[in-house]
């Protein structure tokens, strides 16, 4: 027992892997395939979590702004590559850069605001707070921006003719695509808004569950949850806003011509 939290015995943890075997059994019996993928996923999860666990243990024990920033950067880079992987179309280098910069700028601003002003963390780089909170903001912004990017690309593809008609009547490019970029923005932010709707009733958010399991009072857990939800909303809003605004421009060249085929 630590902090009144019921610790899981290592031996018992092994039993949890039984669920993987159940899945493997079903998959094999039904000839669904992909056994290797399932095994790989389980092994990867285990190794990654163990590694992160020890890494965080070290970092928490050796507080330093350097570690906090370094891990923040690693999370950002991982998130940006993850976004690239989720885009189901070929995109320009310019757009890729825009995505990276929007992600980085939007999350950094939100994280700083959140850590310094909302929580008033002292010192600001206190990694046992800084890292998990940043992770949540980055993770949610990553999902938001991926949605936004795919909606933006789809909007341009489906409305190519309409955009060209606007241009031929003398529209500025950004006016011609206003509706498309607004819709992309809305669709990217919508899941975050929806998750606020169901919060506490349909599900208990992971962070809150974690805090309660770790022995925190539900009221404290709720305060954190509200704060983090606002932080997530802010971060998603900023990153998607930057991405949509600058991203829309990357579909046009200097002569204000549509670049997509």
């Amino acid at each position: 027992m630590e902090n009144g939290m019921v610790n899981i015995q290592l031996i018992s943890l092994v039993f949890a892997y039984i669920f993987v075997f159940i899945l493997l059994l079903i998959v094999k019996k039904k000839k669904i395939g992909h056994e290797q993928e399932i095994i790989l996923a389980s092994v990867r999860m285990t190794i990654q979590l163990v590694a992160v666990g020890y890494l965080l243990k070290y970092v928490f024990a050796n507080q330093s702004p350097f570690y906090s920033i370094l891990i923040l950067l690693v999370m950002e880079i991982f998130a940006i590559y993850n976004i690239y992987g989720r885009i189901d179309a070929e995109i320009s280098l310019d757009f890729k850069k825009t995505i990276a910069v929007s992600m980085f700028a939007g999350t950094s601003i939100s994280i700083l605001f959140f850590v310094l002003i909302v929580i008033g963390l002292e010192p600001w780089f206190r990694s046992d707070y800084f890292i998990p909170l940043s992770g949540m903001l980055i993770g949610n912004s990553m999902t938001g921006i991926s949605l936004g990017v795919n909606h933006l690309i789809g909007g341009f593809r489906d409305n190519k003719r309409l955009i060209e008609n606007y241009l031929m009547l003398g529209a500025e490019p950004m006016y011609a695509v206003e509706k498309i970029s607004n819709r992309a923005f809305y669709n990217a932010v919508l899941p975050t808004i929806n998750s606020m709707m169901g919060m506490g009733i349909v599900f208990l958010p992971g962070m809150m569950t974690g805090q309660i399991l770790a022995g925190a009072s539900p009221v404290t857990a709720i305060k954190y949850q509200i704060a983090i939800m606002m932080g997530i909303l802010g971060s998603v809003t900023l990153t998607v806003f930057f991405m949509v605004n600058r991203g829309s421009k990357t579909f046009f060249n200097k002569r204000k011509q549509l670049k997509i085929k």
Partner: protein, 208 residues
């Protein structure tokens, strides 16, 4: 009004030299895929030539702001999009697109008369027939009072009679308001009857 010199666009269009004069109605003839639409799009800078220079009023079109140019040289594409809403909405959206002052119902009605579209401003634009949509699209362009009107032939096959009716209206409008008109048509008869000058474009080249 336009001067083109040594123009190349991909391997679609090659033009050594041609001049298009102000207030002259030019018809462009040629078989499908020959490069007629491409030619028009070069003139309003919807696309840029890989080589050569295009002058508009003796100034390289690359030295114009593209939007500013497109507001002077307005193109009516082969299959224009009709905007959602009423006929009035279509006019209002067009004004907003081109950043133009609100003209008002009287002027809209007058333009509808000019393109012989006997409909109310409250009528749904989407319910119009193909030929009527074409006329509404033309009306929107006329509202912008362009210096040059680039008219691509409608791809949706209008019957000969309707097409000729639309063309005679545009030509009439251009002459009356001393605009320059450049129009694509597949019909030599229409070209002969309405144009001051005919240009043939075949496989990317202007032929005499």
């Amino acid at each position: 009004m336009f001067k083109l010199q040594n123009i190349e666009f991909k391997n679609i269009l090659q033009i050594d030299s041609i001049e298009l004069k102000e207030h002259v109605t030019t018809a462009i003839l040629g078989s499908s895929g020959g490069g007629k639409t491409t030619f028009l799009k070069l003139l309003n800078n919807m696309i840029s030539a890989d080589k050569g220079t295009i002058y508009y009023k003796d100034k390289d079109i690359n030295n114009y702001d593209p939007v500013e140019l497109r507001r002077k040289v307005v193109m009516l594409p082969q299959d224009p999009e009709i905007f959602k809403g009423t006929i009035r909405d279509n006019f209002i959206i067009t004004e907003k697109i081109a950043d133009k002052k609100h003209a008002g119902d009287d002027i809209y009605k007058n333009i509808l008369k000019q393109v012989s579209l006997p409909k109310f401003l409250e009528d749904k634009a989407e319910d119009l027939s193909g030929g009527e949509k074409q006329r509404l699209a033309l009306a929107r362009v006329m509202l912008l009072e362009p210096e040059v009107l680039l008219l691509d032939e409608p791809s949706s096959s209008l019957d000969q009679e309707t097409e000729e009716k639309i063309i005679s209206m545009v030509v009439n409008y251009a002459v009356k308001n001393s605009r320059t008109l450049i129009m694509v048509t597949h019909s030599p008869a229409i070209a002969e009857k309405y144009a001051d000058r005919i240009i043939n474009i075949e496989s990317g080249r202007i032929i005499k």
